[in-house]
């Protein structure tokens, strides 16, 4: 196992399988009445979140707590960061307080990798800019494997703003690594022009892609004004790329619908589509805890120090 979890790009197929298998064993812990194991007792995990996040932060917090680690939450507002302290100095401070692992969410691509140059703690990337979100990618792979029994050969479409999506990068890299067949779908302005180099297909026609899918993975559409230079209107987006009830009919019966959340109901996904049994969005959330437990355990669990 690596020292850090920075990107899906860094992981081998064997790494991915090992992480998913480890998560499998932790998945059961979450179904017990007492959802806790002592694996990381005495270890300190810092959730260092410099960008707003609810689900990822809570998921990491639960994961660390279920492993009996001490958890510190450190977010941008009200912290030294908002007083102008640099990322490096803040990280050194966390290190001086004895952080064994730092889970970082940051709006700047590459910042988790930079952190590894400055501190000794294990770094887990909880989303960096428009680069990667490897734990999301892993929980998505876990969910697909759990529901469909395999990853190799799965036909997956990732639909939406791929250009600005760290989720799309991690998931694409992971799926290609595991032998799945990936098609990126969206307006041409939101698909990186060089994406085929990643080993994926590109399509601008969702209706043509849907009948040949095992998984339709929808990305959240950013509706901030600056995104609107890439497509004319949310309405037009929904019409040409949104997963509507009509489009669900085009998909094979047993195909899954996935979304990393939070959803824009009525934009990339119709409200009644999100509530279909084939939409496994809540399972993704549940599996996220198991994946993050697995990663923390693999990084921190095999302690070198003898506590005696």
């Amino acid at each position: 196992m690596h020292e850090h979890v920075l990107s899906m790009h860094d992981l081998t197929a064997d790494d991915v399988t090992r992480i998913l298998d480890t998560a499998e064993s932790f998945r059961k812990v979450g179904t017990r009445v007492i959802k806790k194991v002592p694996a990381l007792r005495g270890r300190t995990v810092v959730n260092f979140f410099l960008e707003n996040s609810t689900r990822t932060r809570i998921s990491f917090e639960l994961a660390a707590k279920r492993l009996s680690a001490d958890v510190i939450n450190f977010s941008a507002s009200g912290s030294s960061v908002s007083k102008g302290e640099s990322l490096k100095d803040t990280a050194l401070t966390l290190q001086a307080m004895g952080a064994d692992a730092i889970v970082i969410r940051h709006s700047s691509s590459g910042s988790p990798l930079q952190l590894t140059r400055w501190v000794d703690a294990h770094i887990l990337n909880a989303g960096d800019g428009t680069h990667e979100h490897p734990t999301q990618g892993l929980l998505d792979l876990y969910t697909m494997r759990e529901k469909l029994g395999r990853l190799e050969g799965l036909r997956v479409a990732i639909v939406g703003d791929v250009l600005h999506s760290r989720v799309a990068r991690s998931l694409s890299f992971g799926l290609v690594k595991m032998g799945a067949d990936v098609t990126l779908v969206g307006p041409p302005t939101l698909i990186p022009p060089d994406a085929p180099v990643w080993g994926v297909h590109v399509s601008y026609d969702i209706d043509a892609v849907l009948p040949k899918l095992d998984v339709c993975y929808l990305l959240r559409v950013q509706t901030e004004r600056q995104r609107l230079e890439f497509f004319p209107s949310v309405r037009e987006y929904a019409r040409f790329f949104g997963l509507t009830r009509r489009r669900v009919e085009l998909m094979p019966q047993d195909a899954l619908i996935m979304h990393p959340g939070p959803m824009n109901r009525g934009v990339e996904i119709d409200s009644d589509v999100a509530d279909l049994p084939s939409a496994v969005i809540e399972d993704q959330v549940t599996n996220g805890i198991a994946i993050r437990m697995a990663l923390l355990y693999l990084l921190l669990g095999a302690t070198k120090e003898d506590p005696g």
Partner: protein
Amino acid sequence: MSGRYLFAGGRVIDPAAGIDEVRDVAVADGVIAGPEAAAGAELIDADGLVIAPGLADLHAHLREPGDEHKETVETGTRAAAAGGYTAVAAMANTRPVADNASVVQAVRDRAAEAGLCDVFPVGAITRGLEGEVLAEFGEMAAAGVRMFSDDGHAVPTARVLRNALTYIQAFGDDLVIAEHAEDASLVEGGHMHEGVRSASLGLAGRPAEAEEIVVARDLALARATGGRLHLCHVSTARAVELIRRAKADGVRVTAEVTPHHLTFTDEDLDTYDTNRKMHPPLRSSEDRDALRAALADGTIDAVATDHAPHAIEEKEAEFDRAPPGTIGLETALAAILTELVEPGHVSLARAIDALSTTPARILGASDHGGPIEPGRPANLVVFDPEREWVVEAPFVSKARNSAFLGARLRGAVVATVLRGEFVVADGKPTR
């Protein structure tokens, strides 16, 4: 050491005189002397060393006034001397901006006080670098400015640039407008070359066409106005093609390229090393190869450093927040020797021409760039083409943001001579 001395047995490369041969060079009272001065002169063994006209940089940010925490005229010119430079053009994007004769004069005065390297202040094209109102070219030209640039940004509208290229012609045929060619609307928010790498690293791109568009526009305006245009830090293969065609058509254009664009590509950004973040960005390997060929065939006239010092804490930041730029004065010669001369992309004579003779001519720095002939000011660099060294901090520059940190380079400056005086001896600044 000053007065009368003789470099004995060095290989003299003097592109201005078309000389590349082992011969002695005598210096007396700050100027190159004839063989008659050899008698009684102090002898300096230059066996195995190269003696060339002092290097001339068309593009350095000395940061003074305004950003003295990054670099000062004194520290910047000391770094220049350490790198073998005797002439440096200091860019106008200081605070206040060098858009008037008094700032220009202040920079020149500071350089004269330090006495380490001749500084040729570049004047702004537009007042405050704001891209709207022409700066006072006439006044600055009267104060000796020969090059004007809003470096950091392209002049935003064709109309303003057209007026600048037209208006400067009143003050001398040798005045030149130097452009930073990147279309602002295409590079806004971008941090590296747009391509496979930027997509994978999740960094917004600065596409190659941003440079091509401005180069094409500027060449059209230079052609139409007859004004002299210089293109800064050319970085793309297609820009090279446009320049090649314009030169063939007789457009008055010159171009420079940096050692870092000749060495690195966007693949060297995989570790988010902020020292390799610069504008324009490191490009593809195809672009780099085209730049090398263009330097060899003269389509690109000169090597310029774009020396851009920043404080440690400014560069030790998130990639998208770190300021762009790498220092370059202390590594340019060795980088060109290692990356271009040694693999055979350009000859040693062409390298010296591109680092010294041609940029001195573009800048109107008539005391620099050779020829190394009796009566000429003794502005020289002496270097060991074989000595290997590893680029490490600290530097002579106040800054340490070098894209070459950790690189093993071959070729080291032994001495830099400014008007006969050793400002660098045994590879170290003498003061």
